[in-house]
Symmetry: C4
Subunit: 204 residues, 4 copies
């Protein structure tokens, strides 16, 4: 996916897909793909728009700080405010795509296990890039904040190459991968795993 038009079309389609799952309610969430690694350039979904209704042009190119670069397809479109965290995640992890949504179970899980959510011995962990047996996965949780550099530092402090996800308390989840498809598979598995874990640990 090298051209901006292609990236925009892929981001619009993928956003509509997550919006259909109810994970991007009220214009929340954002998706990005890496256009270039050096200097880092990401195409990120524009801010404030319904994620089910994006067009290929509703995308903004940002640099490693999340700042919009000159020459945008839609100069009137602002990048997602969280673009800086997308860029940090891409830079540190080497990911080709970063997905951020506000699904409910990740946010509840972060609430119940603020020191990190532990998962192990679950088949769906394979879709998350880990093993189904004897592999303790801890999904890190960081406090919410509006300064993407602070969030980025918290992310980096707890970053493990084998754990492609981050929970932001009272906010949402970030999942990344080589491309939007791998990020999707990982996010779908993680959301399932968190929903299962929340239910399993509920008093019956």
């Amino acid at each position: 996916m090298t051209t901006l038009a292609e990236a925009g079309a892929a981001l619009a389609a993928e956003s509509a897909r997550y919006a259909g799952l109810g994970w991007m309610r009220g214009t929340s969430g954002n998706l990005s793909v890496v256009l270039d690694a050096d200097p880092l350039r990401l195409a990120v979904t524009a801010s404030g728009l319904d994620k089910a209704e994006l067009t290929a042009a509703d995308v903004v190119v940002v640099d490693r700080t999340g700042t919009a670069v000159p020459d945008q397809p839609r100069p009137d479109r602002a990048p997602s405010a969280e673009a800086g965290l997308h860029a940090r995640i891409a830079e540190v992890s080497g990911a080709g795509a970063v997905v951020h949504v506000h699904a409910l179970s990740p946010v509840l899980a972060a609430e119940y296990w603020p020191d990190g959510v532990e998962l192990r011995d679950l088949e769906m962990l394979k879709g998350f890039g880990r093993a189904a047996h004897d592999d303790l996965v801890t999904v890190p949780v960081v406090p919410n904040g509006q300064d993407m550099r602070v969030l980025g530092d918290a992310f980096e402090a707890g970053y493990r190459a084998d754990t492609p996800a981050l929970l932001v308390a009272r906010h949402g989840v970030y999942v990344w991968g080589a491309d939007l498809t791998q990020a999707r598979h990982r996010l779908e598995c993680l959301e399932w795993l968190l929903r299962f874990t929340i239910e399993r640990t509920r008093t019956r």
Copy 2:
């Protein structure tokens, strides 16, 4: 959105969208947009019709009391019985659109916190027009009733310009904004916030 035909089309589309979320079951709920501020004229969805199946003509123009004015596109269509409350909300708040749905989580929240639902330190509050940190939002709850003037008075008594929502106990929720899109974003965020809060406070 100045013409009635445009308003009707927008209301029909928006209603279908909420109906798709299951928030307008059994013909419940109603949406309105302000056509004129002085004298106040609202276009409100007609009563008794499935909200997924409205056409642009299924709209009634009402005055500030919620009474249908002469010269309707569909004289056989009655305005929503709750049009009077839509008008009061629009008049007091200056909103351009008012949305009323029967989503389950708002009604459960009103049941659990009949003195008002408190929300704070949640990212999704930004979509509700408030801050994500250190901003206590209290969504007012009023008792249900069939007299729109009584409901309107209760609404007005608890009205705060920074809190664009009202919970009616055992009934549903009203959310408003400058237009249907802003009202949608706010309602989607509020519904998410209430679902999260109900789950978070459940004994585990």
Copy 3:
């Protein structure tokens, strides 16, 4: 709706709608409309077919006992096994349409309140044909069984003209009305009311 073809088309469309809500899983449930009152003739959905995939021809005409009459549009189609209860309900209540689905909340409600489910002071009761205030609605529950005459007798014993619904324990719900649309509105409201009541009474 007088012709069988019209009835079949309406039943197919309505079934697909309920199937879309997940209320007719595994071919469960059935819908009927009255073609003639005397002698009683109902068009009922055929048995064993996915309710999302019915055609207008997948309908069987039955008499007041639920037995298929001669001259069917599809002689290979068997009537729903529950057609006899549809007929009894139509005969006793005077309804023009009877809807039977296996939504989860009605069955759970019957489990929790086997002597009848009490509802009152809820706005959605208006969509069920009752009042929103000071009107105690009791939805009757009967034990499950395979003999439609036994079920029909149990239905008739507890029948009240102002309560157009019946819960069959460990099975599903029947709701009726003047036509499929009224039955739909009532069923949607009842299902919402039962979901609310189950949640409201859960220990928190």
Copy 4:
């Protein structure tokens, strides 16, 4: 359904249907149909692809061990890793189709009742091929594992011809039938039954 093209088309359509229910998140799950009984040949969905997006060519022919045979329509497509268990189930039960999905309620049920999930006196059991009254159905649960021969042995040890389902702990569910349609009806009923049972036994 004798040709591979027909099988592929049916598998693709059926997979999309389950994916729409959210039961195949993150490429999880797989479906198969028997092409020949002796020697056993199954057409099984290819591995690693989104189950909502399969084409008729995304299918692999496997033998009784689950190994891909020569001459595939898509040599680049690998069979589902679980094909060996599909083949064992088909061989032992005589089923014409085997469906494996990762719906949440079956996995939760296996968690709560690891010695087998008991169901009885429920109308939906009829859709599962059992009786609605006085018929104790026990859905077996086996521990998860990556060796399909071990899983197959565990399946075979607890196999009963009148119970066309298997729960794999921390993983998912297998349901089978004469064809994909019967497997679908049985799976939909089982998933409903497990959801009901989990809810019914929750402390209130």
